[in-house]
């Protein structure tokens, strides 16, 4: 049965390098810029930006599910050690929560846009701020997994395979 599975390379992955950090570029950028455009739209009285914000939010929601699929596969192959296990668990939990939050916000935004596309209620702006904070926390956790614990880097994979960590 194991012979049917693809062989893992020196990053402990069946593909060249991690894909999750590439896909999250889109989630992070579009979720944050959506909130920024909402802020400018409300305070700068530029309601045209609400349309840009909606589209960015919609595609951030689509992208996060792709990010979660690759994130789960790569987390399963990560062999976390020491404090990395707790951080990876929290990163996964917040990741799934963000998918829910983004989906809810996009649905809410769709209704708002259908009723009046040129205004935005302040509670939605508050929800956008919460989303941005969640994204910032999630990015920090992801940074620690890569830059502190080095998951899926060649030296760490070699150390794990040799039983050194």
């Amino acid at each position: 049965m194991n012979q049917l599975l693809p062989t893992l390379n020196d990053h402990n992955l069946p593909w060249m390098d991690t894909i999750h950090p590439i896909v999250v570029h889109f989630v992070i950028a579009m979720a944050v810029i959506s909130f920024v455009f909402d802020l400018i739209g409300v305070w700068g009285r530029k309601p045209n930006l609400f349309e840009v914000s909606f589209w960015n939010l919609l595609f951030a929601t689509a992208a996060i599910f792709v990010a979660i699929i690759f994130g789960q596969i790569e987390a399963g192959l990560a062999d976390p050690y020491g404090g990395a296990s707790a951080i990876l668990n929290l990163h996964s939990t917040i990741g799934w929560s963000l998918a829910g939050v983004l989906s809810l916000l996009t649905g809410w935004r769709y209704v708002i846009r259908g009723r009046d596309p040129r205004s935005l209620p302040l509670p939605f702006l508050g929800a956008g701020a919460l989303l941005t904070v969640l994204v910032a926390v999630q990015v920090t956790l992801g940074n620690q997994l890569i830059w502190v614990y080095g998951l899926h880097t060649v030296p760490v994979v070699q150390a794990v395979r040799s039983g050194l960590v």
């Binding site: 999250v24 570029h25 889109f26 989630v27 992070i28 950028a29 579009m30 944050v32 810029i33 309601p47 045209n48 930006l49 609400f50 349309e51 840009v52 589209w55 960015n56 919609l58 595609f59 769709y110 846009r113 259908g114 009046d116 596309p117 040129r118 990015v139 920090t140 940074n143 620690q144 830059w147 502190v148």
Partner: protein, 89 residues
Amino acid sequence: MACLALLPALPSPIQQLAQWLGPNGLPYALPIHPNLVHFTIGLFVIAIAFDVAGPCIRSSGGCSGFLHCRSPGRASTTWVGTTCSPARW
């Protein structure tokens, strides 16, 4: 030219800073550059994607109809907020 020969003997700023650098070779814990390029890559790519998708979204049916994207004349995703809204139909 004699002065140039002395250059390798001089301590470099990097060596002087070494005592303050962390495991990543930085004076702070996590690198900042990879976090900023999220925006460069993500927004640039999606801007191009919107530009490509914009002219393609012309029908009122299916997904684009559900998202109220019918836009006479110009493409909705490149014309910010004026045509891609139910209020302007």
